[in-house]
C-alpha cells in the first residue's frame, strides 16, 4: 500500500503540475478524490483485509486523502492568486496623472488678515462688532471730538451723501462710539470693529478709495498707556513673530490724548535696516492712544472714573507688509490664480 500511496501521489502531482485553470483542477480532483476517484476507490479493497491490515491500510489511505487534498488546494490557491494578480495587473493605472482638484474656497487675503487679528483679540476678550457703513456725521466726527469746521473733516477727504449730515464712514471709530453709547457709561467695553471705510483717494498702488480698518477700544476703570503698550506687545508678537520688538512714538489724533504711533521692529531685516523699513529698522503699523476725555464724556462715560485706550490698524497695510504685497488693488481685483496659490496654512500661526 505504501508504494501505491506514493505512486498515486506522484501521479497526482504530475497531473496538476501544468494546470492553470480552476476547472481543470476540479476535474483532477474528481478523478482522484471524487466518488469514483482513484483514491476513493482504494477503500473498496478494504473489505478483503484483516483487521490488522485494515488498520494499517486505513491510516495510509486517510493520509493519502489528506495529502492529496492539500496538494490540490495549494494548487488552487496558486491558480487563484495568479488570476487575481493578472486582474490586478490589468487594472494598473498611471499614478502620475493629475489628481482631482478638491473645491475648497479660499478667504480673501484681507479677510484672512482680519481673521488672524480677530483671533488674537478675541483670545484677549475683545468682542468683534459691526456698524453701519453709511454713517451720520455725529458718529463719524462730532462725538469723536472733531467738530464742524475742523480740518480733519474736510469734504475733500470724505464721501458726503448729504452735506454735513450723512456720509460713507471715513473710519470705523463710529462703531466704537455706538458701542459705548449702547452701554450707557455703565459697563466696561472691550471690542474691535474691523470694517470697510471710504475716503476720497484716487486708486493707485498704495491708495484706495475703499479700505479696511481694524480699530479697537478698551474702556475700564484702571487703564493706562502702559497697558496699551503691554497689549500692543502681545499683538505684535502674535502677528509678526516672537522676536518682534515694539516702540511707541508721540503722535496726534483728535480722539485720543495722549496719542502714539506704534512701530514694530522690521521683520524683514530684524531691525538692521532695509528697503521695507526705509533703513530705520522700524515699521509703523498702527495709531493708538488713550481715549480723549471729551470722547468718553460724549459717549456717556465719566472720564474721572473711566479711562481707556483705542487703536487702529490698516488691514491692507498689515497684509501688504506681512505677505509682501506690492499693490493695494490686489485685494479688490481678486485674481483667482493668486488667491489659490495663497491658500496655505501658516505654520508659525496658531489658527
Amino acid at each position: 500500500m505504501n508504494e501505491k500511496k506514493e505512486q498515486l501521489k506522484k501521479e497526482l502531482k504530475e497531473a496538476i503540475a501544468n494546470i492553470t485553470e480552476i476547472n481543470a483542477l476540479n476535474e483532477v480532483k474528481v478523478e482522484y478524490l471524487g466518488k469514483k476517484g482513484k483514491i476513493t476507490e482504494l477503500s473498496n479493497t478494504l473489505r478483503e483485509m484483516s483487521i490488522e491490515e485494515k488498520k494499517e491500510f486505513g491510516k495510509l489511505l486517510n493520509e493519502l486523502k489528506e495529502e492529496s487534498t492539500t496538494l490540490i488546494e495549494e494548487k488552487r490557491k496558486q491558480i487563484e492568486e495568479k488570476i487575481l494578480n493578472k486582474k490586478l495587473e490589468s487594472e494598473k493605472i498611471d499614478i502620475s496623472l493629475p489628481a482631482v482638484t478638491i473645491p475648497v474656497g479660499s478667504p480673501n487675503i484681507l479677510e484672512r488678515m482680519i481673521e488672524e487679528v480677530e483671533e488674537v483679540f478675541m483670545s484677549m476678550g475683545y468682542d468683534v462688532v459691526d456698524g453701519p457703513e453709511i454713517e451720520e456725521d455725529k458718529y463719524n466726527f462730532e462725538l469723536l471730538n472733531i467738530p464742524k469746521g475742523h480740518p480733519a473733516r474736510d469734504a475733500q477727504d470724505t464721501f458726503y451723501i448729504k452735506e454735513e449730515e450723512i456720509l460713507l464712514r471715513s473710519q470705523t471709530s463710529p462703531v466704537q462710539v455706538r458701542t459705548m453709547l449702547s452701554k450707557k457709561g455703565e459697563e466696561a467695553v472691550r471690542m474691535i470693529c474691523p470694517g470697510k471705510t471710504y475716503r476720497r483717494d484716487d486708486d493707485d498702488a498704495t491708495h484706495s478709495h475703499q479700505f479696511m480698518q481694524i480699530e479697537g477700544l478698551l474702556v475700564d476703570k484702571e487703564i493706562s498707556l502702559s497697558d496699551l503698550k503691554g497689549t500692543f506687545d502681545i499683538i505684535a508678537k502674535k502677528l509678526f513673530g516672537e522676536d518682534c520688538k515694539t516702540r511707541f512714538r508721540p503722535s496726534y489724533y483728535q480722539f485720543t490724548e495722549p496719542s502714539v504711533e506704534t512701530d514694530v521692529s522690521c521683520f524683514k531685516c530684524k531691525g538692521e535696516g532695509c528697503s521695507l523699513c526705509k533703513n530705520t529698522g522700524w515699521i509703523t503699523v498702527s495709531g493708538a492712544g488713550m481715549v480723549h476725555p471729551n470722547v468718553l464724556r460724549n459717549c456717556g462715560y465719566d472720564p474721572t472714573i473711566w479711562t481707556g485706550f483705542a487703536f487702529g490698524f490698516g488691514a491692507e497695510r498689515l497684509a501688504m507688509l506681512k505677505y509682501g504685497i506690492q499693490d493695494v488693488r490686489t485685494f479688490y481685483n481678486t485674481d483667482l490664480r493668486e488667491l489659490k496659490a495663497f491658500d496655505r496654512k501658516e505654520m508659525e500661526s496658531n489658527d
Binding site: N108, G125, E133, G149, Y160, S224, D227, P258
Partner: protein, 790 residues
C-alpha cells in the same frame, strides 16, 4: 524749514550736536524728517590769479586759482570768469548735488584739477536758464581765500525739515515756537526778540478809523509808519528768508515775512497813501470783485472776509492783498495790519480761490493773540531799524477776543494713572518748568496755565499727561496688561452670521472676494431685485464710482470679467457685504457667482457647474443655519436672468433672493449666480440643535416612475407623494429624469426612490405595499400622472 542759526537768536544752543538734537526732538513728538547741512568738504574760496583762453576751444578758459595753499589749474567755461575774481572752487573729491563727484582730469587736452562753481551747481539756486547764463558765482572782494564758502554766504546753517502732526504744525512752524519746543526738551529758557521803537508825535488815530463789521475778525491791530525807504534787505534777512524758501523782494516786504517766520503771525502792509483814511473789515458781498497782488481778478462770496477802505475791497483778509493798495518802490507810508481771522473761513476762502499761501495756511490753523501784538511791535522795530521808518504813536484796535487763560487743575497721581508711571510732585514741577508752563502747587494739586502759544492744548489732564509723557519718553513706559476680567470675545450680532456663512461657503468650494461699494450707474442697474433705488453720490470722484450698490452681483461680474480676461476657466466666488438703498436701509447680502467646473480633473472627469449645483449650495447654507424644510424655490422671471433657469428663493414663504443662470445676452458664458438677503435670516428664530438617532428598524426602499406633463415641477409631485405617504415615508429621492423614446414629446418620466421606516417597529411588506399603492394612486389622480412600467 526751521533754521537753527535763527533759532539760536532765542535759545542758547552752544555745544549742542544738532543732529542729535533732531533725534531728541523727534522722539518727543515733533518729527524732524530731514536735517539739512551744506556739505562743504573740498569746497573752498579761491581767487583767479591767471586766466587765458584755451587754445583748443572758443569758450573755455584755463585758469590758475589760488586757494591759499596751492595754485590749481582749472579749465572753466563760464563767460564771466576773469583774473582777480573771488570764486567758489570745488576741488577733486568734492561731491556736488546729484552725487556728482569732482575728479582731476583733462579737458580738451588741458589738465583741470577742479571746478569753479555756479550757485545752482551747489544746489543753492534753482537751475534755470537765467541762473545758467549768470555763470559762476562772483564773491565779494571781502571773501577770504581759503575759507569755507558756505560760511561766507551765511549758508553754514543747519536746517530742520519738519513733518509735524496737525496739532503741532501751528507752533512748531515758526522759529520762536520751535525754540520753545527745544527749550522743553533741553530745559533751557527762551529769549524773545527786541520789539521796542521810538514813537513820533503824530497819532495814528488822526489818520485812521477802523470799523469791524464781521464776527469773523475778533482781533485787528493796525500801526502806521511813515517816511520809509524802500531798499534791499540786509543780508541776514535775505539769507534767513532764503532758508525758509522765500524770495527776498525789498526791505519792507521782507520784514513782514521775517516777522511771520519769527512769531507765526502773518502781516499785511498797505500803502497808506493808496488806502486812504478808513479801514472797514466785513464779509464780502456775493460776486464782489477784487484784483489781487498777482494781477488776477477774483470773484468773492459772502463766505469770504474782506478788508475795505470803506468803499471797495483792498484785501482778501488772510489770503491776499489787493493790487490797489500794494507796497511799491514809491511807497512812503504804511499801514501795518496784524490780525486774527476766523480760521475756518480763511481755509474755505484759500481753497475756494485756490490761493493757498504761507500766510493763509497760518491763519487757517489759528493764531496766538499775544503774538499778534508782539509781532506788530516787532515789525515796527525792524522797519525803524532797516527801513528808516518813523512810527506813529498809538494803535488802531478791534478786540473781542476771549483772553481767559486755559488752566488745568490736577494731581500728579492722575497723570500717573493715565500713563502708568509714578512721578512725584517735584519731578512734575521740573517737567512743567521745562515746558515753560506756569503753575501753582498747593495741597498736592497743580494749577497749570497753558501758554497761549500752545493752541493745540485743551483744559484737561490728558493733555498735560501727553506733554509729560512725551518728555518722559514713551520708551521708558513699562509694558503692563489691563486689569480686566478674563473671557473670550465673541462675534456680535450680524458678524456671527457673516462669519458662519462665509466659512461654510469656503468649505463648499467658493472663494471669497472683496469688491467696491461704489460702482457705476450702468453696473448698479443690473440684477435689480426688491430695491427702492440707489444712492447717488452728490460729488463723486468719477462716474464709475458714483453709485452705492444695492446688489453685490454686478461687482462679482467684474471679478468674473477680470479673471476671464486672464484665462481663468473655473470661477467660483462669493462675497458677503452690506448694501444700502436710497432710504439708507441696510441689508447684509450674500452673493455668489459660479462658472466652469466645480470638481476639476480635465483628463478624467469634470463636474460642471449648473443650476442644481448652485441650488445645492444654497440649500446647504440654509440647512446649516437651521432652516431645513423652511425654504422653497419658485420659478420667476427676473431682469438679467435666464427666464427658464432662474428661481426666486423663499424662506418661511418670504422672498429673500434669487438664483439661476445669468441671461445669455448679458454674458454668453454659462454663469450661475445667487444673491439673498442674509439679514432676513438673522431676524428669524431657529430650533435649538438636537441629536437625532438613525432609525433603529430596517428601512424599506421602493422605486416608482411617473410619466407626467413636461411642465409639471417635480416638487409638486414630491409634495403629493409626501402627503400620501404620511409619517412612515421618511425620504424621497429623484433618481432619474427621462425624455425621449417611449415618452411623448410633451411628457417626461421622473423616477423616485421612496424610503419607508417606522421608528417603533419593523415594517412588514404588507404595510409598505398598502402605503406604496396609496401613493401611486394619489399621484396618478392629482398630477395626471401615469405609473411607468418597469
Amino acid at each position: 524749514m526751521i533754521s537753527l542759526n535763527w533759532v539760536k537768536d532765542y535759545i542758547d544752543l552752544e555745544g549742542e550736536d544738532l543732529k542729535e538734537l533732531a533725534v531728541k526732538v523727534t522722539k518727543a513728538g515733533v518729527n524732524i524728517e530731514k536735517v539739512v547741512t551744506n556739505d562743504s568738504r573740498h569746497l573752498v574760496i579761491g581767487e583767479v590769479v591767471e586766466c587765458s583762453p584755451h587754445t583748443d576751444s572758443d569758450h573755455l578758459n584755463v585758469c590758475k586759482v589760488n586757494d591759499g595753499h596751492t595754485i590749481h589749474q582749472i579749465v572753466c567755461g563760464a563767460p564771466n570768469v576773469r583774473t582777480g575774481l573771488k570764486v567758489i572752487v570745488a576741488l577733486p573729491g568734492a561731491i556736488l548735488p546729484g552725487n556728482f563727484e569732482i575728479k582731476a582730469g583733462k579737458i580738451r587736452g588741458v589738465e583741470s584739477n577742479g571746478m569753479i562753481c555756479a550757485l545752482f551747481e551747489l544746489g543753492l539756486e534753482e537751475k534755470t536758464e537765467e541762473n545758467y547764463n549768470k555763470g559762476i558765482a562772483e564773491l565779494g572782494s571781502d571773501a577770504i581765500v581759503g575759507e569755507n564758502p558756505f560760511t561766507y554766504l551765511g549758508l553754514d546753517d543747519t536746517l530742520y525739515e519738519l513733518d509735524v502732526h496737525k496739532h503741532r504744525n501751528n507752533d512748531c512752524y515758526y522759529h520762536i515756537g520751535f525754540a520753545y519746543e527745544i527749550g522743553a526738551i533741553l530745559g533751557k529758557p527762551v529769549t524773545l526778540p527786541e520789539c521796542t521803537y521810538q514813537k513820533i508825535d503824530e497819532n495814528i488815530t488822526d489818520h485812521f478809523q477802523l470799523k469791524v463789521e464781521t464776527e469773523k475778525c475778533p482781533y485787528y491791530l493796525a500801526k502806521m509808519v511813515k517816511d520809509i525807504k524802500i531798499k534791499e534787505s540786509p543780508d541776514f534777512i535775505k539769507k534767513r528768508l532764503a532758508s525758509a524758501g522765500m524770495r527776498s523782494i525789498n526791505n519792507v516786504v521782507d520784514i513782514s515775512n521775517y516777522v511771520m517766520l519769527e512769531f507765526g503771525q502773518p502781516m499785511h502792509f498797505f500803502d497808506k497813501d493808496k488806502l486812504g483814511n478808513k479801514i472797514v473789515v466785513r464779509d464780502a458781498f456775493d460776486l464782489e470783485e477784487i484784483t489781487t497782488l498777482d494781477n488776477k481778478k477774483r470773484v468773492l462770496s459772502k463766505k469770504d472776509i474782506v478788508i475795505t477802505d470803506g468803499d471797495k475791497p483792498v484785501c482778501i483778509a488772510g489770503v491776499m492783498g489787493g493790487l490797489n493798495t500794494d507796497v511799491d518802490e514809491s511807497t512812503k507810508s504804511i499801514l501795518i495790519e496784524s490780525a486774527i481771522f476766523d480760521a475756518v473761513s480763511i481755509r474755505y476762502t484759500a481753497s475756494h480761490l485756490n490761493l493757498k499761501s504761507e500766510a493763509s495756511i497760518r491763519y487757517g490753523k489759528g493764531l496766538n493773540y499775544e503774538y499778534t501784538l508782539m509781532a506788530i511791535n516787532r515789525a515796527c522795530h525792524l522797519l525803524e531799524k532797516y527801513a528808516d521808518a518813523k512810527i506813529l504813536t498809538g494803535m488802531v484796535v478791534h478786540d473781542t477776543i476771549d483772553k481767559t487763560p486755559k488752566t488745568v487743575t490736577f494731581k500728579a497721581s492722575e497723570v500717573n494713572k493715565l500713563l502708568g508711571i509714578t512721578i512725584q510732585n517735584q519731578d512734575m514741577e521740573k517737567e512743567l518748568d521745562k515746558l515753560g508752563f506756569p503753575y501753582v502747587l498747593k495741597d498736592d494739586t497743580f494749577s497749570v496755565t497753558i501758554p497761549n502759544r500752545r493752541l493745540d492744548m485743551e483744559e484737561n489732564v490728558a493733555d498735560i499727561a501727553e506733554e509729560i509723557g512725551r518728555l518722559y519718553g514713551y520708551h521708558n513706559l513699562k509694558s503692563t496688561l489691563p486689569k480686566v476680567t478674563t473671557r473670550r470675545g465673541v462675534y456680535v450680532g450680524d458678524v456671527f452670521y457673516r462669519k458662519a456663512v462665509s466659512k461654510r461657503l469656503r468649505t463648499l468650494g467658493l472663494n471669497e472676494v472683496k469688491t467696491y461699494t461704489l460702482t457705476s450707474p450702468e453696473m448698479s442697474s443690473l440684477f435689480q431685485y426688491q430695491t427702492e433705488g440707489n444712492i447717488l453720490l452728490p460729488n463723486p470722484m468719477s462716474v464709475d464710482k458714483s453709485v452705492i450698490r444695492t446688489s453685490i452681483l454686478p461687482s462679482l461680474i467684474n471679478v468674473y470679467d477680470y479673471n476671464n480676461a486672464r484665462k481663468v476657466k473655473d470661477i467660483l466666488i462669493y462675497e458677503i457685504s452690506k448694501v444700502y438703498d436710497k432710504n439708507y436701509k441696510e441689508e447684509l447680502k450674500v452673493a455668489a457667482l459660479m462658472k466652469g467646473n466645480y470638481l476639476v480633473n480635465e483628463w478624467h472627469q469634470n463636474s460642471k457647474v449648473d443650476f442644481y449645483l448652485i441650488k445645492g449650495i444654497i440649500e446647504n447654507i440654509f440647512c446649516y443655519l437651521g432652516f431645513k424644510n423652511r425654504y422653497s424655490f419658485e420659478v420667476t422671471n427676473l431682469k438679467d436672468m435666464h427666464p427658464g433657469m432662474s428661481a426666486e428663493i423663499f424662506v418661511d414663504r418670504e422672498p429673500i433672493g434669487f438664483l439661476g443662470r445669468v441671461h445669455p445676452t448679458l454674458k454668453k458664458d454659462e454663469i450661475y449666480v445667487f444673491e439673498f438677503n442674509l439679514s432676513k435670516l438673522t431676524e428669524k428664530n431657529v430650533k435649538p440643535l438636537k441629536f437625532k438617532e438613525a432609525p433603529k428598524y430596517p428601512e424599506v426602499k421602493k422605486d416608482c416612475a411617473f410619466v407626467v406633463e413636461k411642465d409639471t415641477p417635480s416638487e409638486t409631485i414630491e409634495k403629493t407623494i409626501k402627503s400620501a405617504g404620511g409619517r412612515l415615508l421618511t425620504n424621497i429621492e429623484v433618481f432619474d429624469v427621462y425624455t425621449g423614446e417611449n415618452v411623448l414629446e410633451n411628457q417626461k418620466s421622473i423616477a423616485y426612490s421612496l424610503t419607508f421606516a417606522d421608528p417603533s417597529k419593523t415594517l412588514t411588506d404588507e404595510e409598505v405595499n398598502v402605503l406604496f399603492k396609496q401613493i401611486i394612486k394619489k399621484v396618478e389622480e392629482t398630477e395626471k400622472a401615469v405609473l411607468r412600467d418597469k
